[in-house]
Amino acid sequence: MIGANNISEQLIDWYSKYNHEITIIEKKLNKCHEFDQLYGPISQHGDATDLNIQKLSGMERADILIATTKSDSTNFVISALAKSNFKVDTIINRINNMNYAKAFEENGFNILINVESNVLQSIEQETSILAPWSIAKLKTNPSKEIIGIKINDDSNIIGKSISEIGFPSHSQLLLIIRSNGITDTPAEHKTIHPNDELIVLIQEGKKESMIEYLS
């Protein structure tokens, strides 16, 4: 992981439960000392954009690299060095400006975390009447996505059973979350009520047609 910060602290707590070896590369010496005191010898002091520092950190043994600095160009260079010199399999990048996403993806850095998108997603979910929110994108062929949709009071599908609704062929209803929070496994006879949340598997790019279908 690059940078001793709140994100890495949370990740150390999580990964160490599963006995993973973790190394943090951090520029500030006092931060390294702080993390070493908290978690044992875990820090490599130095600049992660320096190949020698990556070597010293044991990058050749890394299965996953997580670059979460606030600079897109720093994250990109760190990732490119680790990939080309140490063949790191999985690289996770924090990306601040999503316009750069294509450049990251075309270099094989497919896992991009954008704080702004995550905030927007949470807002969408909280205000989700017929505005579907994305739950997960699946690496399938063709690409699929799991989305959540909250059913509006005046939706045409209210009162209809799932067999009557007949979901489009590119989609599959996975779960119904009732307005009281109880989860309900979909079955042909079950009916849709106002404010139900539907968790649906769809082909990527079919979100809009799904909204039309359920409105």
Binding site: T49, D50, L51, S71, D72, S73, T74, F76, V77, A80, L81, S84, N97, N99, Y100, K102, A103, E106, N107
Partner: protein
Amino acid sequence: MNNSKQTTNQNNCIIFGNSDIGNFIIESLLNSNINYNITFLTEEQINTKFNNDINILFGNIYDPKILKNLDFSNTKLSICCSENTNLNILTASYMKSLKAENIFCCSYDTQYNNLLNSKNIITFNPWNIPNKLNSLWRT
């Protein structure tokens, strides 16, 4: 303007970032016997002797939006030569994703010299300009 200069619509160049090496390249291209049409992207107001011979686009060079509307398909040469090596590397890769060809990326650190080879982007150091680049003004 020298009328004997060769002019084609394929002589468009995009120079990204203000630096000594960028200024040197611009001047060399302008002094060559080819009529290059240079677009220069910079964050700072600059006042150079070739201000009237190039198109200057001011903007935030840390935001790729500045590049989005440029026509890379009709560009002969793109050079990232700000003073920030990391930014040059990311921007050169971003230009590639916009289908730019013949991209050069300036690095002030030799450890990155082969970093973008697989993407067909030539990384060079300001003290060692590759032949493929300086041949553009030495012909």
